[in-house]
């Protein structure tokens, strides 16, 4: 029996060694299940496999826009009436949409058209793996959008994402930016006459709200919003050029002035600005609290107008202000913004012409006006954006913010640095860490990421 056990263990160990050896030889080669392997969906660059009979064409459209699902279905019906092409609008709400796209891309299971959740770096991965379509065939409509907006998902020579397949890969369905939204009624109750314009005024208003028994502020610090809230102050203290260099590792993070960015969160903690549970709060929870008038302010995107309307159409007593500038900041505050919802086409769609037709439909002036008035989102089409009507006062103020958006906030060499920043902000917000500690952790992670990138 002992002999048999020994033999079994030897066979097991040898199998493990062989397995490691075999799999270790699997580098520098194309994955056998890659998108380049002929599959049913895999078509050539010049996709001629389109059906001319539109009655047989059914496009699949994926999106994550909970508040716009009915509107998109309505637009799909209009499109079908106009062209005879059916569109199946499928909603995948929640924060996992980007992960769903990435997983589907691995399996060549992307839909014909989709909204994209993620940044230019994320889309760049799909570009390099040949999953998304370059849109030069739709160049004729590029002029309808602000050039700064279109640049977001345009990869030029020497782009920071290392994308070699140059071109434009997404069109904007809407634009957005992120600012502070405040409850005008609660501000009045606390004796605040107008929205703050400086950081000191902001903190003073927080104090007044607390005295009036009103919770000052909530937002989704438990998720991606933490980094977005830091962004205006990154620009204010470092400026765009220095920020880009710091993130690239060309200038040191320590002593760059970034500490001041983190100290703003410490200010908010010390003044008791945050609602309870802020460290793990997601944006939908904060939005619900704002609509229920449980908090006076929220840091949210222009899409929130549509969300508020959906939660409570009678709740309209709010307005917008830009992040207030700290007195010691050397640059103007700018806000995160740009393409709100990028529309992306599947490189391997069997209905290329129909898919492009649907995207053209979504971004034409009439649809964009309808989109803005019904969903309370900022239209991407400039003709629609500058036309009269269709926008509430708060939405119009959001729209004015498009003149102050961050053009280039830089990208860290690895997303893990953003994770450290996000986690650090959560801990500062509940007094469990300090700006110094968080900055050191960020620097450690940044150095690690830079070293990895060099290797």
């Amino acid at each position: 029996m002992k002999q048999l056990n020994r033999v079994t263990w030897r066979v097991f160990i040898i199998s493990i060694i062989l397995l490691i050896g075999l799999t270790g030889c699997g580098g520098n080669s194309k994955d056998m299940t890659s998108n380049e392997k002929p599959t049913k969906e895999n078509t050539s660059q010049d996709n001629t496999n389109t059906t001319s009979d539109t009655k047989d064409v059914k496009l699949v459209f994926w999106h994550y826009l909970n508040d716009r699902h009915d509107l998109l279905k309505e637009m799909a019906v209009d499109f079908e009436q106009k062209t005879g092409i059916q569109v199946d609008i499928q909603l995948f709400g929640g924060d996992g949409f980007k992960q769903k796209i990435m997983a589907s891309a691995q399996n060549n299971a992307l839909p014909d058209v989709m909204t994209f959740a993620g940044g230019a770096g994320d889309l760049g991965q799909l570009v390099e793996s040949g999953n998304v379509m370059e849109l030069s065939d739709m160049k004729d409509i590029f002029g309808k959008f602000p050039s700064t907006i279109l640049k977001t998902f345009t990869y030029d020579e020497g782009n920071i994402f290392g994308v070699k397949k140059l071109g434009t890969y997404a069109l904007p369905m809407d634009t957005n930016n992120i600012q502070f939204v405040y409850n005008t009624k609660l501000f009045e109750k606390a004796g605040i006459a107008s929205a703050p314009t400086t950081w000191d005024e902001f903190l003073a208003d927080v104090d007044k709200l607390k005295v009036a028994g009103i919770v000052p502020f909530a937002t989704g610090i438990g998720s991606w919003v933490a980094g977005s809230l830091a962004a205006p102050y990154e620009i204010a203290y470092l400026g765009e050029e220095k920020l880009v260099n710091v993130k690239k590792g060309q200038e040191p993070l320590m002593d760059s002035g970034y500490l001041n960015v983190l100290k703003r969160f410490e200010d908010l903690y010390k003044h008791g600005a945050f609602a309870e549970g802020i460290a793990t709060m997601d944006l939908p929870t904060a939005e619900q609290m704002f609509v229920n008038e449980e908090v006076a302010m929220i840091y949210d995107g222009s899409w929130a107008i549509g969300v508020f309307n959906q939660m409570n159409p009678n709740f309209t007593q709010y307005d917008v202000f830009q992040p207030p500038k700290p007195a010691d900041a050397t640059h103007d505050v700018k806000i995160p913004g740009g393409i709100g919802v990028p529309l992306v086409l599947n490189q391997h769609t069997e209905h290329k012409e129909a898919a492009m037709q649907f995207v053209r439909f979504l971004v034409e002036k009439e649809q964009q006006q309808k989109y803005a008035s019904k969903s309370f989102n900022l239209p991407a089409n400039m003709e629609a954006a500058t036309s009269e009507g269709g926008m509430t006062p708060a939405l119009r103020n959001f729209s004015l913010g498009m003149n102050h958006i961050i053009e280039n906030g830089g990208t860290y060499p690895a997303p893990s640095v953003e994770t450290v920043l996000q986690k650090g902000i959560q801990l500062i917000a509940i007094g469990q860490s300090t700006p110094d500690q968080v900055l050191k952790e960020m620097d450690t992670e940044l150095q690690k990421a830079l070293k990895e990138k060099k290797e």
Binding site: A103, D122, G277, T280
Partner: protein, 305 residues
Amino acid sequence: MDASSLPSTKGKPIGNRSKIVKRYLNLAYVMPALLLFILFSLLPIFRTVQYSFTNFNGVNPNYQFVGFKNYAMAITDTRWWEAVGNGVIFALLSLVFMNTIALLLSVAANSNIRGGKFYRVVFYIPPILSGIVVGYIWKWIYEPKGLLNGVLRDIGLDQFTHVWLGSIDTALYAVAVSSMWQGVGGSFILFLAGLQGIPKDLYEAASIDGASRSQQLRYITIPSLRKVYTLVNILTILGALGIFNHVYAMTMGGPGYATEVPALRIYREAFTNSDFGMANAFSLIFGIMLFVLSLIQLKLSQKKD
């Protein structure tokens, strides 16, 4: 019938062909299951090992072999070991509290109490619910103005209200409670099955000898359930260390890293950081740890026997 009545095979060759045919026929019967096993178990394991030695980002098929770099980084990652530590806390809490409650519930359900069958059904409902749904429901319960704090205020215990998920002191335990609430039913069912295998006459004999209920529990029930206990412990440890749904729904690993667990870290490496190589390295290290733990438990249990 004895051996002398059997037909003699002396001098006749045994049907080799029929043996071979029989062997291949047996193989054909198991082939579908074997193929499924290879496709959905072995192949993913092979791929996991393969990708763990590369810088595969999950999408781009042109990845490079990086040797043991991912493993070196994983082993020296302090945040990873903190996540493992959190997993161990979950496991310990589950072993102590969840399994004890499950055992007591199963003993109660197994005795001839009124509504015993009803309780058996009710206790098994939580495990069949979706983990994500359970997580979101408990998140709502734990909200600052949620059910728990509301009840505490209503009964005059305002001083005990707390930011359960938003505080690093309580977030981990709050998530553990929701996980144990869901897991107790699984252990309960296994203990119940084990209890039903214990001969009733042992209890009768003990009663006659004057043993109390707690003595019967201690000297009959628990020793008789040793093998079941080993199985339940292994499953509890594996389940607790592999917790993901509850953490994802309730805290996403926050505040900070207070509720970070290995599965969440692996998920983040793969789908947020787009580093499948690193994620697979973590997965393998974690898998080996769980395997070794299970082996140790089995050996310990065998020694006692």
